[in-house]
Each structure stands twice: as C-alpha cells, then as structure tokens.
Amino acid sequence: MEGVVRPTNVGARVPRLEDARHLSGRGRYTSDIPSPPGTLEVAFVRSHLPHARVLDVEVTSIPAGCRILLASDLERVVNPIRSGSTNPNLLVTEQPCLAGETVRFVGEPVAMVLAPDRATAEDAVDSIRLRLEALPVVASAAAALADDAPILHGGWSSNVALQSDREAGPFQEQVAKATTAVRRQFSMARVQPFPMEGRALLAIPGSDAGQLTLYASSQRPHLLRSFICAQVPGLDESALRLIAPDVGGGFGPKGNLYPEDLAVVGASLLTGHPIRWTEDRWEHLVASYQAREHSYDVTAYVDDDARVLALEVDVVVDGGAYSTLPSTMAIDASMALSVLPGPYRIEGYKARGRSVATNKAALSPFRGVGRPNACFAMERIMDEIAYELGLSPLEVRRRNMITPDEMPYRTVTGLIYDSGDYAEALEIAAQAIEELASERMAPEPGVLRGVGYGCYVEQTAHGADEWYRRNMNYIYGHEVARATMNPDGTVTLYVASHSHGQGHQTSFAQIAADRLGLDHDQVEIRYGDTHESPFGMGTFASRSLVMAGGAVHTAAGLLADRLREIAASWMECRPSDVELRNGKAETADTAVALSEIAFAAHLDPGRLPEGAEPGLDFTGYYRPAVGTGAFSYATHAAHVEVDTCTGHVRILDLVVAEDCGTVVNPLIVDGQIQGGAAQGIGQALFEEAGYDAAGQPTAAALTDYLLPGAAEVPSVDIHHLNHPSPHTYNGAKGAGEGGTIASPVAIANAVRDALGSGAPVDDLPLRAQSLWECLQANARLRAVDR
C-alpha cells in the first residue's frame, strides 16, 4: 500500500483531530479529574533560604482535619533520588522528596500539609515556622568554581558534578596552520520551559491492597511509573497505573522525576487517602526544573580563506542544586560539546565541559537541550570571524559548510550526519529574508535594522547508540505501538508516546491510515495510560514521529498483512494481490469490507482460513536501522529593528528554512516551528529566571518573568527542504525542537548587524538598556570624531 496518496493521509496538511477538544474547552487535564471522596489536598512547606540546615519544623496549631508529613515520615516509604549514570566520574546528588537535614534552593520542599482543600492546607502552611540555620550560598556557577566555594554535597570534593575534557582530530596541527584566532565569551540566562499547565498529580489508592492509580501531567507515563516504582520499595510496576490525561505542554521537564511526585505517592501510601497536588505559578517559577544556563569561552582558529580549522571551547553549565532523574545535570554540557561544530567542516577540536552545582532550582533538559546554547556560541563566533576578516557572515558560513557529497559525514565529535544540503537551507533563508526586508518601507528616523543568521544540525530520533554514548542508565532504543481492529472494523492504536501539543492523534493516524487503506479520521490513537498501551518511552528528543510513527507503521502493517491474508483466502488469490482501499480489501474484480473480515476474525472464526490465528491485535516495535540518529538541520534568519531611543528590539521577519525529511503533516510541523521560535524569541529578548547574589529567585511571579506574547512573535516564514533520512522507515527526521535552537542567535546576530561592533549581543536575553548605552557611547564617539 506504499505510495497510495489519499487526500488526508501522509503528506497532507490537515488540521489536528485533537483541536476540536482543546478549542472547545473539552480537554481533560489532571486537575479536571474529579476528586474521589476523602481526597486530601497538598500544600508544601518550602524553604525560604537557598542553603541552610533544617533545625526544626515548628508547628504551633494547625487547622482541624490537617495532617503534616515530614522528611522522617516519607523516608519510611520513599527512597531519596540518586541520579547518576554509567560514567563513574559523575558525582551523584542525593535528594530526599522532603528535605530533612539540608535545603539547597529556595522553594525546596521541607514538609507537606494534607487538608480537605488547598486553602486550608495553605492556612496550615502559614502557621508552620521553618527554623533554618543559614549556610554559605553558592549563587552562581562562577561562585561554585571559586577556590574557597562552600561545597554543596556531602562526599564531593568540589561543586563540579562532572568535568569532561576531550581533544579530537589533529587539534594542535590545525591550530598551527591557522592565521587568525577569534575568541569570545557567550552566555544564556537560565529560563523556565514554562508549559501552560504546571505540574499536577492525583494519587488514588486502588480497591485492592497495594494498588495505586496516579494521574500526572507527564510526558512519559511509562517511564515515570518505572522511576517512581524504583524509589518506592514494594510498589510494583504492575500495581501502579499511571495515567497522563491531556497535558498542557511538557518541553522536557515533565519527562523527569520530581520529588513532589514521590511525596504525593508516599503520602497516599502512608494515609490511604487519595492525594491531590496542583502546582501553583509561584511553585512553578521557583521549584519546577529550569534550563539553559550555560557560559562559553570559544576560540575559533581560522585560516586566510576564513576556513575554521579548529575550535577550542570551555563550557560551564549551572546545574542547580540537584541532578534530575534520569537526565542528570551533565546532560546539557554533554550535548553542547557534542553538537557545537554544527554544519561546519571542523577538524580540530578541544573542549572542556563542567556541570556545576549551585543553590538554585535543578536544571533539566528543555526543548533543544543544550543545542540552543551551543548554536548561540558557534553562530555568534561565525559572525565575529566574518567581521574580523571583512567578509559577510553568509560567505563565512558558505566556505565552511559540509556538502551533500560528503554524506554520511563523521564530525570531529563523533556524530554521523546522514543526509542534507546545509548550504541550500542557508541560501533559501538568505533569499527569503532579503525579499521580506526589501518589501518593507524605510525605517523611521532613529531606527536601525539588521539581518542575522543561525544554522544548526540536530541529531533527532537517536536510537540506542546515542543513549549508550551518553552513559545513560536508561536506553531509549525503540518505540512501540499496538494496533487493534475492533469487530466492527474500526481501528484503535495504542501508543506510549504521549501527545501534549505534538498532534500525535493526527499524524500517527495519517501513518496508520495509509497502511490500512482508511482515512486518518477512521483511526483512533490512544495514549497516556500505562494500563492500555504496551511499555514505551514517551515523548522527548524529537523522536516521536520517527520512533513511535515507525512503531505505528509496523503495527498497522502487521494488521494490514493479516487482513490481506484473510481476504486472499476468501477471494482465492495471493495476499499480495489484495489491496486495502476505502475500507475494503480489493482485487481487480472483487472486494470485501474490512468490517466483514474484522467480524470474522473476532466472532465468526469458522470463516478464517485453516490454521489462521483468531483476533486482530498486533504489537509492533520500531528501532531505526542505525542508532546514531536522523539529522535535521535549518537556517534561521531574523530581520530586526532596534529603536535607538529606547534600545528596544522588534522582530520584523523570521525565516526558517529547515529539513526534517519526509513531512507527514506540514501543518503540524509548521506549528512546531512557530512554537519553538516563540520560545527562542523569549530566550533572546525577554525571559530570565534570575537569582540575586544571595540566592533568592528574582522572578517569582509573572510580573517579573516576561514571556513573549502574540504581539512579540511574528508569523514565521517557513520553507521545507526534503532530503529524507536513509535510516528511518519513511525518511522522516525529528522536527519538535528545531524552532527553538537557532532563533535566539539569529536575533542576536541581526542586532549585531544593526548596531555594528561593540554591540552587547553576547549574553542573552538582550537588554534594552545595554543596547541603548552602547548606542549612546557610539554616538559620543562619532561626535568626537567630527
């Protein structure tokens, strides 16, 4: 059935089937699940100090019906989180779900109150006084690395959880050949991934002893079940039903285990009550996992032709107080060092990465995972090379890009690029942004405009090889789907890849429908319940369309094969002569309805061919032929204007020319790019989850944490290239994260283009005041020149 093009199936730009539910308010999130009788709601008592010894939790009087649980209570049922890897050099943090001895960030839970409702629980929290003895604070990565820094974790000899040093390729020889060295420092602020729905949990004890149902706003219900059961002695995976209903965005943090997850499960086990906790925005801003706080010192060694011969980089990642499970605080630096060379042919490489602990909320992977940072450093330095050598930023990129005839290309860091034409993306983006810019009226006086570029290559849908390479304790090598044809001929697919904005209900249905000769709206996709679908990994790492889509492809294919076999036995032909089309199994001259086959397979077995298995239920697994990943790439181009009177930056045009191989649903891919770009704009211009020198968060409410809104995010001009991956079942490559990778640096480079040398664009977010001060200083210089 390959190659059959239906108006709504693979390749079709169809609206998402799930939109009707979401747009009409019929979505069902964890907080919409009714509380069973006897439910107690949780309010956590959280540390107000960034680093302190817990002396006492003083309880004077609490409202009637409330109960308080302390670390000593939870310890009886839940083990502390110790997140490590197979790398013995990675230092492990130990995080109890409630802090009993030491708190290490503002917002760390110390005690939990259970009450009939949240307001009463918060009243009780009000009446509880934490007696804390302040300890010296490590409020930045620089402070963490100081010689006399207080060390945050017992058994550590410094605050560096992992340092990795690598030298690859003929580094010294390449450096010796270089004629210019361009060195710069770059940094990105810590940000909040900020899903619209915060965290939410509802634990309900089962009617049989030892059973528990947990509703959770999670990206990967099966893995969360495994993580929880590994921490709770006696709680079997067979006894824990984990349901992630509708989830209002994930972006990475909701793929990791949280101490609150364990506290809620533990409280339910201890009390026998259903337990609900819904995170509020303050908790979200101070205690949810944060992201992206990296600093870079980069030197590019360049020859007279502007070829980058070698790169030297020192990366420091501020990992916050604890290693998240299972990612650990080393994941960002590992990713950044691996992807830094991007689309360029760089042969010499020397890199140091350090992941350090500080008194801040823990860092977790966030859409792009280290790539936006690495891309920022690499693409800024490419511009600086251009300025240094008097070339255009485009020309420097052209001269260094890996060409299609070099594919597969093994990078100096060991990645194996599989397909693509990087320069094609660059030229398309350049042409598009220039056209858009030329269509605009001349700027008002006092407004400067500029264009900037950012390019990246993104490893997506990596199989086992990559996760082993990262020393992960959990290897996400495959994905699963179960295809069932019901007795009436309708089709249900159970997948483990949750959808929280990715449109799986639609794109997976398109894939299955093509295999089964149906329209996409005749296939139901179900996910989110560990009791319904087989064990699978969930949604992360730009992998679902390839991995889970591949599993859907496989399972639906198995089902299609069986349907053809049964039909062929009735039609007295070979199965290969049977085509599934429009709900029927057809040959050139005869047809039978799939519903008739389905009924026979389930409820009229006498009609089945001799020896045929009854039933129509097939589990399919998929892992790509090669486990090193399918490589998407893009060039992002930004056209911005800077108001010289205020330093404010406005994005006029944003172009993305990207290749994610075969596109199953262009509308969904476009939406992913648009949303990713919005987060990139936030990183570039607005968002900062800061901490002051005392370790207090400076953005504890939305008045202090600015997110881009509709007015700040232009409609992205998107161009799809199509160089299918040779490694995936349909040539697809992942597309979920790309939009956020290069948009920040494209914006920064555009501002650099507008303002000229000295523009303060090496630290994100860009600050209007700094840009204005730079402009003032330049104006003074010009006045002196005259």
Binding site: E122, E444, C645, T646, F686, A701, T703, L706, E712, A779
Partner: protein, 288 residues
Amino acid sequence: MRPAQFTMCRARTVAEAFEAMAVDDAKVIAGGQSLVPMLNFRLARPSTLVDITGLSSLRGVQREGRGVRVGGLTTHAAIEDGAIGGAAGVLLSRMAASLAYRPIRNRGTVGGSLSHADNRAEWPLGMSAVGAQARLISASGSRAVNVADLQLGPFAADVRADELLESLWLPDRHDRVYGYSKISAKVGEFAEAMAVADLGRDAGDQFTCWIGAPASRVISLELPMPRCTADSGWLQEAARNIQAETDPLPAYELNLAAVAAGRAALDALARAGERPEELDREGERRDV
C-alpha cells in the same frame, strides 16, 4: 496561592459598604485585578473584603455641568469602547487599549486603579492630564480632589480607609488635542515610561507634558516641541527638565521618559493634522 481567610461582604448600598469598611483591616474590592493576586500571594490579608460592584451609584457615565461624570466602577473596557466622549474620551480610550489585556480590562475599574495608585498604571496619568476631579465619599460626607493631587507616590493614594472613590468629573475640553505614548517591554505590560502631551488651546512651540512612569507620581511640565522622534538634542534637554520635576531617576529611565514625552507630542501633532515641519513653518496649529 489561595487567599487567607476573610469575610466577604457584598454591599447592596453605600451605607452597607461603609459599615463593612469600618471593620479593622477591611479592604474594598471592585474588579480585583490588582487585589486578587495580592490576596493569592497572601501579601494582602484583609479581615473583610467589601465588594462594591453591586453599588449602582458608582456606575455609569453621564453629563454633569460642563463636563461628564464617570462612575468609579466604570471598567477599562468600557472606556476603551468609548464610554467617555470628546477629546478626553479619545485619549482615554487609547490609553485603555494599551492597559494590560482585554480580559483584565473587562473587570478592572478606573476607581480601583486610581485607589491602588500604581505609578506605572494608566489612569493616574490619563485622568490627571484631562483635569479629572475625584469625588471621595465616606459615612461622614464627601470631598473632591484633583486626580493630579490624588496620587501621593507608588501605591499610595489620598484615599482614606473609610472612603470610596465614587466618581470622577471630567471637564469638557473640546479645544484640546492630546497625544499619548507608552513604552513597555512588551504589549500588555506596565509602562516603563508613559506620557500624555496636551497641545493646549493655542499651541505654539510649547506643549504641556504629563508624565507617569518612571516618575514615582504624575508630573507635568512645559516642554518645547520636538522636531522628530529621535532628536537627541531635544531628548537631552527634555530629560534635564523632567529630572528637575521628579525624584532622581537613572539615566536610562530618564531617557525613556523623555522619549515618551517627545513621542506623545508628535502623536498629538499628527492628530492635529499637522507635521512638525509645517508647524515650524507656520508657527501655529490649526484648530480641530
């Protein structure tokens, strides 16, 4: 983020409201767009919340004398939609449209905003610029205060705990042309700087400038007319003049105030149907 316990009183009459407000630590709530977040953060812990949204005497907009009386419960959205007529109404409608987001404007009230007295908010500035007078009522009577004098500083208004901002009276000013400029980090945020320009009756090369944020309270001063939005000499001169009228401001904030002032003036000029060059040539402004 749930409020501490309080008693809720939904006042049906002004007398009922005054009675409830007499309780220690009582707090008046109208649209609640500033108060409710403070309650949820438990930054405000009133013993009693007095809901005045049911008081019909605080509603509505009607002619009164040579002006218009605007009830304190008038929402930002109603002002945005043109509840107030005339030149002032046009200005205030534009200011309302820049105030947060429509769902907030649907609930928030002008009286609440003025009583809350955030110096970065729209109404202390807008109502000062149009010469509005607030009528404050209490169990012991009423008094009138110019809005320009109402705000004492950030989050401090000359409104006693036993008083309600019943209404505003705006004088007719058909002969005025107003311009407005708000500079904020993004759409919907509070202002970093905000100014209203009043070209006056016979505008020449001067205009009256009202400035809200970043000043800690609304100020007004006479400024010369700028020639363009990025006239650096004018901006520096304006910044010096503004600084003379307000608490010391950091250079960048002061600059933003000057930029807002200049843009408000040019906005007013554009609304008056004239370009700066024409003004320069003719030296006078056509009446509209």
